[in-house]
Symmetry: C2
Subunit: 322 residues, 2 copies
Protein backbone atom coordinates (compact mmCIF):
# COMPACT_ATOMS: atom_id res chain seq x y z
CA UNK A 1 0.00 0.00 0.00
CA UNK A 2 2.92 2.32 0.74
CA UNK A 3 3.84 4.37 -2.30
CA UNK A 4 5.85 7.44 -3.17
CA UNK A 5 3.14 8.73 -5.46
CA UNK A 6 1.10 11.40 -3.67
CA UNK A 7 -2.40 11.86 -4.98
CA UNK A 8 -3.52 15.19 -3.58
CA UNK A 9 -2.26 16.93 -0.45
CA UNK A 10 -1.55 15.38 2.95
CA UNK A 11 -4.92 14.52 4.47
CA UNK A 12 -4.43 12.58 7.71
CA UNK A 13 -1.98 11.18 10.21
CA UNK A 14 -2.92 7.77 11.63
CA UNK A 15 -1.49 6.11 14.75
CA UNK A 16 -1.83 2.44 15.63
CA UNK A 17 -0.71 2.77 19.26
CA UNK A 18 -0.84 -0.57 21.03
CA UNK A 19 0.60 -2.19 24.13
CA UNK A 20 4.05 -2.94 22.78
CA UNK A 21 4.53 -0.70 19.74
CA UNK A 22 3.43 2.41 17.92
CA UNK A 23 3.03 2.58 14.15
CA UNK A 24 2.40 5.88 12.39
CA UNK A 25 1.06 6.53 8.87
CA UNK A 26 0.84 9.63 6.72
CA UNK A 27 -2.05 9.57 4.23
CA UNK A 28 -2.62 11.62 1.10
CA UNK A 29 -6.13 12.71 0.11
CA UNK A 30 -6.71 9.43 -1.73
CA UNK A 31 -6.08 7.41 1.42
CA UNK A 32 -2.73 6.16 0.18
CA UNK A 33 -0.01 5.74 2.80
CA UNK A 34 2.80 7.99 1.64
CA UNK A 35 5.06 7.55 4.68
CA UNK A 36 5.16 5.18 7.65
CA UNK A 37 7.22 4.81 10.82
CA UNK A 38 7.33 2.28 13.66
CA UNK A 39 8.59 2.75 17.22
CA UNK A 40 8.85 0.43 20.22
CA UNK A 41 6.98 3.05 22.30
CA UNK A 42 4.00 0.89 23.20
CA UNK A 43 1.60 2.02 25.95
CA UNK A 44 3.24 -0.34 28.43
CA UNK A 45 6.77 0.33 27.12
CA UNK A 46 6.78 4.13 27.16
CA UNK A 47 9.98 5.86 28.36
CA UNK A 48 8.94 7.77 31.54
CA UNK A 49 5.26 7.31 30.52
CA UNK A 50 5.74 10.54 28.57
CA UNK A 51 3.08 10.10 25.89
CA UNK A 52 3.25 13.78 24.94
CA UNK A 53 6.94 13.63 24.10
CA UNK A 54 6.54 10.45 22.04
CA UNK A 55 3.57 11.97 20.22
CA UNK A 56 5.46 15.18 19.40
CA UNK A 57 8.51 13.27 18.18
CA UNK A 58 6.38 11.24 15.76
CA UNK A 59 3.78 13.67 14.50
CA UNK A 60 5.87 16.87 14.78
CA UNK A 61 7.85 16.57 11.52
CA UNK A 62 4.68 15.64 9.58
CA UNK A 63 2.57 18.42 11.16
CA UNK A 64 5.26 20.91 10.12
CA UNK A 65 4.65 19.98 6.48
CA UNK A 66 0.86 19.92 6.88
CA UNK A 67 -0.19 22.33 9.64
CA UNK A 68 -3.57 21.57 11.19
CA UNK A 69 -3.77 18.04 9.77
CA UNK A 70 -6.03 15.75 11.85
CA UNK A 71 -4.46 12.88 13.78
CA UNK A 72 -6.48 9.71 14.42
CA UNK A 73 -5.32 7.00 16.83
CA UNK A 74 -6.43 3.47 17.70
CA UNK A 75 -5.39 0.95 20.34
CA UNK A 76 -4.43 0.85 24.01
CA UNK A 77 -3.58 4.57 23.89
CA UNK A 78 -7.32 5.07 24.54
CA UNK A 79 -7.45 2.74 27.57
CA UNK A 80 -7.33 3.64 31.26
CA UNK A 81 -3.63 2.79 31.15
CA UNK A 82 -3.10 4.92 28.05
CA UNK A 83 -3.17 8.64 27.39
CA UNK A 84 -6.61 9.84 26.26
CA UNK A 85 -9.41 7.69 27.61
CA UNK A 86 -11.94 6.69 24.95
CA UNK A 87 -14.85 4.73 26.48
CA UNK A 88 -16.01 1.55 24.75
CA UNK A 89 -18.91 1.55 22.31
CA UNK A 90 -21.25 -1.45 22.37
CA UNK A 91 -21.82 -4.04 19.62
CA UNK A 92 -22.94 -3.85 16.89
CA UNK A 93 -20.17 -1.45 15.88
CA UNK A 94 -18.65 -0.48 12.54
CA UNK A 95 -16.83 2.57 11.14
CA UNK A 96 -19.94 4.76 11.57
CA UNK A 97 -20.40 3.95 15.30
CA UNK A 98 -16.66 4.23 15.93
CA UNK A 99 -16.43 7.51 14.01
CA UNK A 100 -19.36 8.97 15.96
CA UNK A 101 -17.68 8.16 19.28
CA UNK A 102 -14.19 9.53 18.62
CA UNK A 103 -12.71 11.34 21.61
CA UNK A 104 -11.20 14.64 20.48
CA UNK A 105 -8.43 16.39 22.35
CA UNK A 106 -6.19 19.37 21.56
CA UNK A 107 -2.48 18.59 21.52
CA UNK A 108 -0.18 21.57 20.87
CA UNK A 109 -1.65 23.27 17.80
CA UNK A 110 -3.22 20.09 16.48
CA UNK A 111 -6.24 17.88 17.07
CA UNK A 112 -6.04 14.23 18.11
CA UNK A 113 -9.05 11.91 17.67
CA UNK A 114 -8.96 8.63 19.58
CA UNK A 115 -11.01 5.66 18.35
CA UNK A 116 -12.94 3.88 21.11
CA UNK A 117 -12.74 0.14 21.76
CA UNK A 118 -15.78 -2.12 21.53
CA UNK A 119 -17.36 -4.07 24.36
CA UNK A 120 -20.12 -6.60 24.86
CA UNK A 121 -21.96 -7.96 27.89
CA UNK A 122 -23.57 -11.03 26.31
CA UNK A 123 -23.18 -13.88 25.44
CA UNK A 124 -20.08 -13.24 27.57
CA UNK A 125 -18.39 -10.16 28.97
CA UNK A 126 -15.63 -9.11 26.57
CA UNK A 127 -13.69 -6.10 25.33
CA UNK A 128 -11.44 -5.19 22.38
CA UNK A 129 -9.36 -2.12 21.70
CA UNK A 130 -7.42 -1.70 18.46
CA UNK A 131 -8.86 -4.77 16.74
CA UNK A 132 -12.08 -2.90 15.83
CA UNK A 133 -9.91 -0.67 13.63
CA UNK A 134 -8.06 -3.60 12.04
CA UNK A 135 -11.44 -5.17 11.30
CA UNK A 136 -12.74 -1.95 9.72
CA UNK A 137 -9.61 -2.00 7.57
CA UNK A 138 -10.04 -5.63 6.57
CA UNK A 139 -13.61 -4.92 5.43
CA UNK A 140 -12.36 -1.94 3.40
CA UNK A 141 -9.66 -4.07 1.77
CA UNK A 142 -12.00 -7.03 1.21
CA UNK A 143 -15.51 -5.60 0.78
CA UNK A 144 -16.84 -9.08 -0.02
CA UNK A 145 -16.40 -9.98 3.68
CA UNK A 146 -18.62 -7.14 4.91
CA UNK A 147 -21.96 -8.91 4.33
CA UNK A 148 -21.12 -11.74 6.73
CA UNK A 149 -17.81 -13.21 7.91
CA UNK A 150 -15.84 -14.45 10.88
CA UNK A 151 -12.67 -12.44 11.30
CA UNK A 152 -9.90 -14.10 13.27
CA UNK A 153 -7.11 -11.92 14.69
CA UNK A 154 -4.44 -14.18 16.25
CA UNK A 155 -2.17 -12.70 18.90
CA UNK A 156 -1.58 -12.28 22.63
CA UNK A 157 -5.35 -12.00 23.05
CA UNK A 158 -6.76 -13.52 19.87
CA UNK A 159 -10.15 -12.16 18.78
CA UNK A 160 -12.87 -13.93 16.80
CA UNK A 161 -15.37 -11.40 15.53
CA UNK A 162 -18.67 -12.13 13.80
CA UNK A 163 -19.31 -9.41 11.21
CA UNK A 164 -22.66 -8.66 9.62
CA UNK A 165 -23.49 -5.75 7.28
CA UNK A 166 -20.08 -4.16 7.90
CA UNK A 167 -20.39 -4.14 11.69
CA UNK A 168 -19.00 -6.32 14.49
CA UNK A 169 -22.05 -8.02 16.00
CA UNK A 170 -20.30 -10.20 18.60
CA UNK A 171 -16.81 -11.35 19.47
CA UNK A 172 -14.76 -13.62 21.70
CA UNK A 173 -11.26 -13.25 23.13
CA UNK A 174 -8.97 -16.28 23.40
CA UNK A 175 -5.86 -15.78 25.55
CA UNK A 176 -3.91 -18.26 23.41
CA UNK A 177 -0.86 -16.06 22.81
CA UNK A 178 -0.48 -14.99 26.44
CA UNK A 179 -0.99 -18.56 27.70
CA UNK A 180 1.68 -19.81 25.29
CA UNK A 181 4.19 -17.18 26.44
CA UNK A 182 3.47 -17.87 30.13
CA UNK A 183 3.83 -21.63 29.73
CA UNK A 184 6.97 -21.28 27.60
CA UNK A 185 8.72 -18.84 29.92
CA UNK A 186 7.55 -19.81 33.41
CA UNK A 187 6.00 -23.28 33.56
CA UNK A 188 7.35 -26.80 33.88
CA UNK A 189 6.23 -27.39 30.25
CA UNK A 190 8.79 -24.90 28.95
CA UNK A 191 11.67 -26.29 31.00
CA UNK A 192 12.93 -28.93 28.51
CA UNK A 193 13.01 -26.37 25.67
CA UNK A 194 14.65 -23.75 27.89
CA UNK A 195 17.32 -26.30 28.83
CA UNK A 196 17.80 -27.33 25.18
CA UNK A 197 18.11 -23.66 24.17
CA UNK A 198 20.74 -23.09 26.86
CA UNK A 199 22.72 -25.92 25.24
CA UNK A 200 22.37 -24.30 21.83
CA UNK A 201 19.71 -26.71 20.59
CA UNK A 202 16.95 -24.62 19.08
CA UNK A 203 14.93 -25.01 15.90
CA UNK A 204 15.42 -22.32 13.30
CA UNK A 205 12.23 -23.30 11.55
CA UNK A 206 8.88 -24.43 12.91
CA UNK A 207 8.76 -28.15 13.76
CA UNK A 208 5.54 -28.58 11.77
CA UNK A 209 5.22 -32.27 12.59
CA UNK A 210 5.15 -31.50 16.33
CA UNK A 211 2.79 -28.56 15.74
CA UNK A 212 0.39 -30.73 13.72
CA UNK A 213 0.50 -33.40 16.41
CA UNK A 214 -0.49 -30.82 19.04
CA UNK A 215 -3.34 -29.54 16.85
CA UNK A 216 -4.63 -33.08 16.26
CA UNK A 217 -4.45 -33.91 19.98
CA UNK A 218 -6.52 -30.83 20.81
CA UNK A 219 -8.93 -31.46 17.93
CA UNK A 220 -9.52 -35.03 19.10
CA UNK A 221 -9.86 -34.13 22.80
CA UNK A 222 -13.60 -33.79 22.26
CA UNK A 223 -15.71 -32.35 25.04
CA UNK A 224 -12.95 -32.83 27.64
CA UNK A 225 -10.75 -30.15 26.05
CA UNK A 226 -6.99 -29.93 26.49
CA UNK A 227 -6.97 -29.71 30.30
CA UNK A 228 -6.24 -33.45 30.63
CA UNK A 229 -3.53 -33.52 27.93
CA UNK A 230 -1.66 -30.25 28.55
CA UNK A 231 0.77 -31.90 30.99
CA UNK A 232 1.48 -34.44 28.23
CA UNK A 233 3.82 -31.82 26.75
CA UNK A 234 6.13 -32.76 29.63
CA UNK A 235 5.47 -36.47 29.93
CA UNK A 236 5.97 -37.05 26.18
CA UNK A 237 9.45 -35.54 26.54
CA UNK A 238 10.17 -37.68 29.64
CA UNK A 239 8.99 -40.72 27.64
CA UNK A 240 11.28 -39.68 24.77
CA UNK A 241 8.28 -39.53 22.44
CA UNK A 242 8.80 -35.81 21.77
CA UNK A 243 12.12 -33.96 21.38
CA UNK A 244 12.72 -31.17 23.90
CA UNK A 245 13.52 -28.75 21.05
CA UNK A 246 10.19 -29.55 19.35
CA UNK A 247 8.09 -29.35 22.50
CA UNK A 248 7.17 -25.67 22.18
CA UNK A 249 5.75 -26.20 18.71
CA UNK A 250 3.73 -29.10 20.09
CA UNK A 251 2.47 -26.80 22.85
CA UNK A 252 1.65 -24.09 20.29
CA UNK A 253 -0.36 -26.65 18.32
CA UNK A 254 -2.22 -27.79 21.44
CA UNK A 255 -3.22 -24.23 22.41
CA UNK A 256 -4.17 -23.06 18.92
CA UNK A 257 -5.97 -26.37 18.40
CA UNK A 258 -7.99 -25.84 21.59
CA UNK A 259 -8.94 -22.36 20.45
CA UNK A 260 -10.16 -23.74 17.13
CA UNK A 261 -11.94 -26.70 18.74
CA UNK A 262 -13.83 -24.30 20.97
CA UNK A 263 -14.51 -21.58 18.39
CA UNK A 264 -15.48 -23.94 15.57
CA UNK A 265 -18.18 -25.65 17.62
CA UNK A 266 -20.56 -23.43 15.64
CA UNK A 267 -20.11 -23.13 11.88
CA UNK A 268 -18.29 -19.85 11.17
CA UNK A 269 -19.19 -17.88 8.06
CA UNK A 270 -16.29 -17.15 5.70
CA UNK A 271 -13.40 -17.31 8.17
CA UNK A 272 -10.67 -14.76 7.41
CA UNK A 273 -7.35 -14.27 9.20
CA UNK A 274 -5.85 -10.86 9.90
CA UNK A 275 -2.44 -10.33 11.47
CA UNK A 276 1.24 -11.16 11.54
CA UNK A 277 2.20 -13.52 8.74
CA UNK A 278 4.03 -16.22 10.74
CA UNK A 279 1.16 -16.52 13.20
CA UNK A 280 -1.48 -16.51 10.44
CA UNK A 281 0.44 -19.38 8.80
CA UNK A 282 0.07 -21.45 11.98
CA UNK A 283 -3.65 -20.70 12.19
CA UNK A 284 -4.27 -21.40 8.50
CA UNK A 285 -2.52 -24.75 8.80
CA UNK A 286 -4.43 -25.64 11.98
CA UNK A 287 -7.74 -24.60 10.41
CA UNK A 288 -6.99 -26.92 7.51
CA UNK A 289 -6.61 -29.78 10.00
CA UNK A 290 -10.16 -28.94 11.16
CA UNK A 291 -11.39 -29.05 7.56
CA UNK A 292 -11.90 -25.28 7.34
CA UNK A 293 -10.40 -23.14 4.60
CA UNK A 294 -9.56 -19.54 5.27
CA UNK A 295 -8.68 -16.27 3.55
CA UNK A 296 -5.65 -14.32 4.78
CA UNK A 297 -6.08 -10.54 4.76
CA UNK A 298 -2.93 -8.40 4.69
CA UNK A 299 -2.04 -5.92 7.47
CA UNK A 300 -5.14 -3.74 7.75
CA UNK A 301 -4.32 -1.17 10.46
CA UNK A 302 -3.70 1.76 8.10
CA UNK A 303 -6.80 0.96 6.05
CA UNK A 304 -8.85 0.85 9.26
CA UNK A 305 -7.60 4.23 10.49
CA UNK A 306 -8.48 5.72 7.10
CA UNK A 307 -11.89 4.06 7.05
CA UNK A 308 -12.91 5.35 10.50
CA UNK A 309 -11.55 8.84 9.68
CA UNK A 310 -13.73 8.90 6.55
CA UNK A 311 -16.80 7.75 8.50
CA UNK A 312 -16.15 10.60 10.96
CA UNK A 313 -15.73 13.17 8.21
CA UNK A 314 -12.05 13.77 9.03
CA UNK A 315 -11.11 12.54 5.56
CA UNK A 316 -13.06 12.25 2.36
CA UNK A 317 -13.59 8.82 0.81
CA UNK A 318 -14.83 10.48 -2.38
CA UNK A 319 -11.26 11.65 -2.97
CA UNK A 320 -10.22 8.05 -3.64
CA UNK A 321 -9.26 7.24 -7.22
CA UNK A 322 -9.54 10.84 -8.49
Amino acid sequence: MASDETRGPIALIGLDWGTSRLRAYLFDAAGTVIAAKAHPWGVLAMPDSDFGAAYAAITGPWEKVAPGVAVIAAGMIGSTEGWVRAPYVPCPAGPRELGAALVETKVGNGRLFVIPGVDQHAPQSDVMRGEETQIAGALALRPELAAGATLILPGTHAKWAAVHDGRIVSFTTYMTGELFALLRDHSILGRPARKAAAQGETNRVVAWEAFDRGVATARDSGTRGIAPVLFGTRSLVLHEELRARDSLDYLSGLLIGDELRSALSGIPQQPALIGEEALCDRYARALQSFGASVTIVPDSSAAGLWSVACAAGLAAPAATHV
Copy 2:
Protein backbone atom coordinates in the same frame (compact mmCIF):
# COMPACT_ATOMS: atom_id res chain seq x y z
CA MET B 1 -1.91 -40.31 63.78
CA ALA B 2 1.04 -38.74 65.64
CA SER B 3 1.26 -40.04 69.16
CA ASP B 4 3.75 -40.15 71.99
CA GLU B 5 2.96 -43.76 72.78
CA THR B 6 5.63 -45.98 71.21
CA ARG B 7 4.47 -49.51 70.53
CA GLY B 8 7.64 -51.48 70.02
CA PRO B 9 11.05 -50.21 68.89
CA ILE B 10 11.82 -47.72 66.13
CA ALA B 11 11.09 -49.49 62.86
CA LEU B 12 11.41 -47.05 59.94
CA ILE B 13 12.26 -43.51 58.84
CA GLY B 14 10.03 -42.14 56.07
CA LEU B 15 10.74 -39.12 53.86
CA ASP B 16 8.18 -37.31 51.73
CA TRP B 17 10.69 -35.32 49.66
CA GLY B 18 8.92 -33.19 47.09
CA THR B 19 9.65 -30.18 44.91
CA SER B 20 9.18 -27.51 47.54
CA ARG B 21 9.49 -29.25 50.91
CA LEU B 22 10.73 -32.27 52.80
CA ARG B 23 8.71 -33.96 55.54
CA ALA B 24 10.25 -36.69 57.69
CA TYR B 25 8.55 -39.29 59.89
CA LEU B 26 9.83 -41.70 62.52
CA PHE B 27 7.71 -44.87 62.83
CA ASP B 28 7.52 -47.42 65.63
CA ALA B 29 7.00 -51.11 64.89
CA ALA B 30 3.22 -50.63 64.86
CA GLY B 31 3.45 -48.06 62.07
CA THR B 32 2.61 -45.18 64.39
CA VAL B 33 4.38 -41.89 63.70
CA ILE B 34 6.27 -41.09 66.90
CA ALA B 35 8.11 -38.01 65.60
CA ALA B 36 7.84 -35.77 62.55
CA LYS B 37 9.77 -32.82 61.10
CA ALA B 38 9.29 -30.54 58.12
CA HIS B 39 11.91 -28.53 56.22
CA PRO B 40 11.73 -26.15 53.24
CA TRP B 41 14.48 -28.23 51.55
CA GLY B 42 12.48 -29.27 48.51
CA VAL B 43 14.27 -30.79 45.51
CA LEU B 44 14.14 -27.46 43.65
CA ALA B 45 14.86 -25.41 46.81
CA MET B 46 17.93 -27.21 48.10
CA PRO B 47 20.75 -25.07 49.49
CA ASP B 48 23.75 -25.71 47.17
CA SER B 49 21.91 -28.80 45.80
CA ASP B 50 23.57 -30.65 48.69
CA PHE B 51 21.11 -33.51 49.15
CA GLY B 52 23.60 -35.49 51.25
CA ALA B 53 23.96 -32.73 53.84
CA ALA B 54 20.18 -32.24 54.11
CA TYR B 55 19.68 -35.99 54.41
CA ALA B 56 22.29 -36.30 57.18
CA ALA B 57 20.86 -33.34 59.09
CA ILE B 58 17.40 -34.91 59.10
CA THR B 59 18.02 -38.63 59.51
CA GLY B 60 21.28 -38.38 61.54
CA PRO B 61 19.75 -37.77 64.99
CA TRP B 62 17.17 -40.55 64.46
CA GLU B 63 19.72 -43.02 63.07
CA LYS B 64 21.84 -42.43 66.17
CA VAL B 65 18.97 -43.75 68.33
CA ALA B 66 18.19 -46.61 65.97
CA PRO B 67 21.35 -47.67 64.12
CA GLY B 68 20.74 -49.49 60.86
CA VAL B 69 17.09 -48.46 60.61
CA ALA B 70 15.79 -48.44 57.01
CA VAL B 71 14.91 -45.11 55.36
CA ILE B 72 12.22 -44.99 52.69
CA ALA B 73 11.62 -41.90 50.53
CA ALA B 74 8.98 -40.79 48.03
CA GLY B 75 8.64 -37.82 45.70
CA MET B 76 10.78 -35.74 43.36
CA ILE B 77 13.91 -36.88 45.18
CA GLY B 78 13.72 -39.91 42.85
CA SER B 79 13.45 -37.85 39.65
CA THR B 80 16.20 -36.92 37.20
CA GLU B 81 16.38 -33.56 38.98
CA GLY B 82 16.55 -35.24 42.38
CA TRP B 83 19.19 -37.32 44.15
CA VAL B 84 18.66 -41.06 43.57
CA ARG B 85 16.98 -41.79 40.28
CA ALA B 86 14.10 -44.27 40.61
CA PRO B 87 12.61 -45.12 37.19
CA TYR B 88 8.83 -45.12 36.81
CA VAL B 89 6.78 -48.32 37.10
CA PRO B 90 3.82 -48.74 34.75
CA CYS B 91 0.13 -48.88 35.67
CA PRO B 92 -1.50 -50.80 37.23
CA ALA B 93 0.59 -50.10 40.32
CA GLY B 94 -0.04 -50.50 44.03
CA PRO B 95 2.12 -51.01 47.14
CA ARG B 96 3.33 -54.40 45.90
CA GLU B 97 4.56 -53.08 42.51
CA LEU B 98 6.08 -50.00 44.14
CA GLY B 99 7.73 -52.08 46.88
CA ALA B 100 9.22 -54.46 44.32
CA ALA B 101 10.78 -51.57 42.38
CA LEU B 102 12.41 -49.64 45.25
CA VAL B 103 15.84 -48.29 44.37
CA GLU B 104 18.27 -49.07 47.20
CA THR B 105 21.37 -47.04 47.88
CA LYS B 106 23.92 -46.95 50.73
CA VAL B 107 24.19 -43.59 52.47
CA GLY B 108 26.79 -43.41 55.25
CA ASN B 109 26.13 -46.46 57.41
CA GLY B 110 22.47 -46.64 56.47
CA ARG B 111 20.26 -47.82 53.63
CA LEU B 112 17.95 -45.54 51.67
CA PHE B 113 15.09 -46.97 49.57
CA VAL B 114 13.51 -44.67 47.00
CA ILE B 115 9.95 -45.32 45.83
CA PRO B 116 9.51 -45.05 42.04
CA GLY B 117 6.90 -42.86 40.37
CA VAL B 118 4.20 -44.30 38.12
CA ASP B 119 3.76 -43.65 34.42
CA GLN B 120 1.31 -44.47 31.67
CA HIS B 121 1.38 -44.24 27.88
CA ALA B 122 -2.35 -44.59 27.18
CA PRO B 123 -5.03 -43.19 27.07
CA GLN B 124 -2.58 -40.29 27.31
CA SER B 125 1.08 -39.93 28.22
CA ASP B 126 1.34 -39.04 31.90
CA VAL B 127 3.58 -39.37 34.97
CA MET B 128 3.28 -39.03 38.74
CA ARG B 129 5.90 -39.08 41.46
CA GLY B 130 4.97 -38.84 45.11
CA GLU B 131 1.20 -39.09 44.61
CA GLU B 132 1.43 -42.90 44.21
CA THR B 133 2.58 -43.02 47.84
CA GLN B 134 -0.17 -40.66 49.05
CA ILE B 135 -2.67 -42.88 47.25
CA ALA B 136 -1.26 -46.03 48.88
CA GLY B 137 -1.67 -44.23 52.21
CA ALA B 138 -5.24 -43.17 51.48
CA LEU B 139 -6.17 -46.78 50.67
CA ALA B 140 -4.55 -47.93 53.93
CA LEU B 141 -6.48 -45.29 55.91
CA ARG B 142 -9.76 -45.93 54.06
CA PRO B 143 -9.71 -49.59 52.98
CA GLU B 144 -13.28 -49.26 51.68
CA LEU B 145 -11.90 -47.19 48.77
CA ALA B 146 -9.50 -49.92 47.61
CA ALA B 147 -12.07 -51.94 45.63
CA GLY B 148 -12.86 -49.06 43.28
CA ALA B 149 -12.57 -45.29 43.65
CA THR B 150 -11.47 -42.08 41.99
CA LEU B 151 -8.82 -40.36 44.07
CA ILE B 152 -8.41 -36.63 43.46
CA LEU B 153 -5.20 -34.96 44.64
CA PRO B 154 -5.49 -31.18 44.10
CA GLY B 155 -2.30 -29.14 43.80
CA THR B 156 0.18 -27.58 41.40
CA HIS B 157 -0.30 -30.60 39.16
CA ALA B 158 -3.59 -32.10 40.30
CA LYS B 159 -3.95 -35.86 39.79
CA TRP B 160 -7.11 -37.87 39.23
CA ALA B 161 -6.39 -41.57 39.74
CA ALA B 162 -8.73 -44.44 39.03
CA VAL B 163 -8.11 -47.19 41.61
CA HIS B 164 -9.20 -50.80 41.28
CA ASP B 165 -8.32 -53.66 43.63
CA GLY B 166 -5.86 -51.49 45.55
CA ARG B 167 -3.89 -50.42 42.48
CA ILE B 168 -3.77 -47.30 40.31
CA VAL B 169 -5.10 -48.40 36.93
CA SER B 170 -5.01 -45.03 35.13
CA PHE B 171 -4.59 -41.37 35.95
CA THR B 172 -4.70 -37.86 34.55
CA THR B 173 -2.75 -34.72 35.47
CA TYR B 174 -4.48 -31.32 35.44
CA MET B 175 -2.14 -28.32 35.65
CA THR B 176 -4.79 -26.29 37.48
CA GLY B 177 -2.59 -25.10 40.35
CA GLU B 178 0.32 -24.07 38.14
CA LEU B 179 -2.00 -22.31 35.66
CA PHE B 180 -3.64 -20.39 38.51
CA ALA B 181 -0.28 -19.24 39.89
CA LEU B 182 0.98 -18.21 36.42
CA LEU B 183 -2.16 -16.25 35.62
CA ARG B 184 -2.25 -14.63 39.07
CA ASP B 185 1.41 -13.59 39.07
CA HIS B 186 2.21 -12.87 35.43
CA SER B 187 -0.90 -12.38 33.28
CA ILE B 188 -3.22 -9.49 32.53
CA LEU B 189 -5.92 -11.36 34.52
CA GLY B 190 -3.98 -10.97 37.77
CA ARG B 191 -3.27 -7.26 37.27
CA PRO B 192 -6.42 -5.82 38.94
CA ALA B 193 -5.88 -7.98 42.03
CA ARG B 194 -2.15 -7.16 42.13
CA LYS B 195 -3.02 -3.46 41.96
CA ALA B 196 -5.71 -3.82 44.65
CA ALA B 197 -3.23 -5.68 46.87
CA ALA B 198 -0.65 -2.92 46.41
CA GLN B 199 -3.30 -0.52 47.74
CA GLY B 200 -3.93 -2.75 50.74
CA GLU B 201 -7.21 -4.18 49.43
CA THR B 202 -7.03 -7.93 49.84
CA ASN B 203 -9.55 -10.47 51.04
CA ARG B 204 -8.68 -12.28 54.26
CA VAL B 205 -11.21 -14.99 53.54
CA VAL B 206 -12.22 -16.68 50.31
CA ALA B 207 -14.78 -14.68 48.29
CA TRP B 208 -16.99 -17.75 47.93
CA GLU B 209 -19.61 -15.97 45.85
CA ALA B 210 -17.00 -15.08 43.21
CA PHE B 211 -15.54 -18.59 43.41
CA ASP B 212 -18.98 -20.18 42.93
CA ARG B 213 -19.65 -17.89 39.98
CA GLY B 214 -16.41 -19.01 38.34
CA VAL B 215 -17.26 -22.68 38.92
CA ALA B 216 -20.76 -22.21 37.46
CA THR B 217 -19.37 -20.38 34.41
CA ALA B 218 -16.97 -23.25 33.72
CA ARG B 219 -19.62 -25.88 34.41
CA ASP B 220 -22.02 -24.23 31.95
CA SER B 221 -19.38 -23.66 29.26
CA GLY B 222 -20.34 -27.01 27.76
CA THR B 223 -18.21 -28.42 24.99
CA ARG B 224 -16.51 -25.08 24.32
CA GLY B 225 -14.65 -25.16 27.63
CA ILE B 226 -13.28 -22.09 29.40
CA ALA B 227 -11.05 -20.85 26.56
CA PRO B 228 -13.73 -18.34 25.41
CA VAL B 229 -14.55 -17.07 28.93
CA LEU B 230 -11.11 -16.92 30.59
CA PHE B 231 -10.53 -13.33 29.45
CA GLY B 232 -13.88 -12.49 31.07
CA THR B 233 -11.97 -12.37 34.38
CA ARG B 234 -10.61 -9.07 33.08
CA SER B 235 -13.61 -7.69 31.22
CA LEU B 236 -15.96 -8.32 34.16
CA VAL B 237 -13.67 -6.13 36.29
CA LEU B 238 -13.56 -3.45 33.55
CA HIS B 239 -17.36 -3.62 33.40
CA GLU B 240 -17.52 -3.27 37.21
CA GLU B 241 -19.38 -6.57 37.43
CA LEU B 242 -16.62 -8.18 39.51
CA ARG B 243 -14.51 -6.53 42.22
CA ALA B 244 -10.75 -6.52 41.60
CA ARG B 245 -10.14 -8.02 45.05
CA ASP B 246 -12.53 -10.92 44.28
CA SER B 247 -11.20 -11.60 40.79
CA LEU B 248 -8.64 -14.23 41.82
CA ASP B 249 -11.30 -16.32 43.54
CA TYR B 250 -13.41 -16.07 40.40
CA LEU B 251 -10.37 -17.25 38.40
CA SER B 252 -9.77 -20.08 40.86
CA GLY B 253 -13.40 -21.16 40.40
CA LEU B 254 -13.09 -21.01 36.61
CA LEU B 255 -9.96 -23.20 36.56
CA ILE B 256 -11.13 -25.75 39.13
CA GLY B 257 -14.53 -25.78 37.41
CA ASP B 258 -12.89 -26.54 34.06
CA GLU B 259 -10.94 -29.39 35.63
CA LEU B 260 -14.15 -30.86 37.04
CA ARG B 261 -16.11 -30.29 33.82
CA SER B 262 -13.43 -32.20 31.93
CA ALA B 263 -12.82 -34.95 34.47
CA LEU B 264 -16.48 -35.59 35.31
CA SER B 265 -17.42 -36.20 31.68
CA GLY B 266 -17.31 -39.88 32.70
CA ILE B 267 -18.98 -40.93 35.95
CA PRO B 268 -16.28 -41.34 38.59
CA GLN B 269 -16.58 -44.09 41.17
CA GLN B 270 -16.55 -42.92 44.81
CA PRO B 271 -14.62 -39.66 44.42
CA ALA B 272 -12.29 -38.98 47.36
CA LEU B 273 -10.09 -35.93 47.93
CA ILE B 274 -6.59 -36.11 49.38
CA GLY B 275 -4.47 -33.08 50.20
CA GLU B 276 -4.17 -29.71 51.84
CA GLU B 277 -7.35 -28.75 53.69
CA ALA B 278 -7.99 -25.29 52.21
CA LEU B 279 -7.61 -26.60 48.67
CA CYS B 280 -9.76 -29.69 49.36
CA ASP B 281 -12.48 -27.33 50.65
CA ARG B 282 -12.53 -25.53 47.31
CA TYR B 283 -12.73 -28.80 45.40
CA ALA B 284 -15.43 -30.24 47.66
CA ARG B 285 -17.53 -27.11 47.20
CA ALA B 286 -17.02 -27.12 43.43
CA LEU B 287 -17.85 -30.84 43.21
CA GLN B 288 -21.10 -30.11 45.03
CA SER B 289 -21.95 -27.57 42.34
CA PHE B 290 -21.55 -30.44 39.83
CA GLY B 291 -23.88 -32.61 41.91
CA ALA B 292 -21.08 -34.92 43.10
CA SER B 293 -20.49 -35.70 46.77
CA VAL B 294 -17.01 -36.52 47.93
CA THR B 295 -15.08 -37.99 50.85
CA ILE B 296 -12.08 -36.07 52.21
CA VAL B 297 -9.16 -38.25 53.30
CA PRO B 298 -6.69 -36.76 55.81
CA ASP B 299 -2.98 -36.27 55.00
CA SER B 300 -1.85 -39.72 53.87
CA SER B 301 1.87 -39.36 53.12
CA ALA B 302 3.12 -41.10 56.27
CA ALA B 303 0.58 -43.92 55.90
CA GLY B 304 1.72 -44.40 52.30
CA LEU B 305 5.41 -44.60 53.19
CA TRP B 306 4.59 -47.22 55.84
CA SER B 307 2.34 -49.15 53.45
CA VAL B 308 4.99 -49.41 50.72
CA ALA B 309 7.68 -50.29 53.29
CA CYS B 310 5.49 -53.14 54.55
CA ALA B 311 4.86 -54.39 51.00
CA ALA B 312 8.64 -54.40 50.45
CA GLY B 313 9.35 -56.26 53.68
CA LEU B 314 11.18 -53.30 55.24
CA ALA B 315 8.55 -53.14 57.98
CA ALA B 316 6.11 -55.70 59.30
CA PRO B 317 2.39 -55.02 58.95
CA ALA B 318 1.67 -57.90 61.32
CA ALA B 319 3.14 -55.78 64.12
CA THR B 320 0.13 -53.44 63.88
CA HIS B 321 -2.27 -53.60 66.81
CA VAL B 322 -0.14 -56.06 68.86
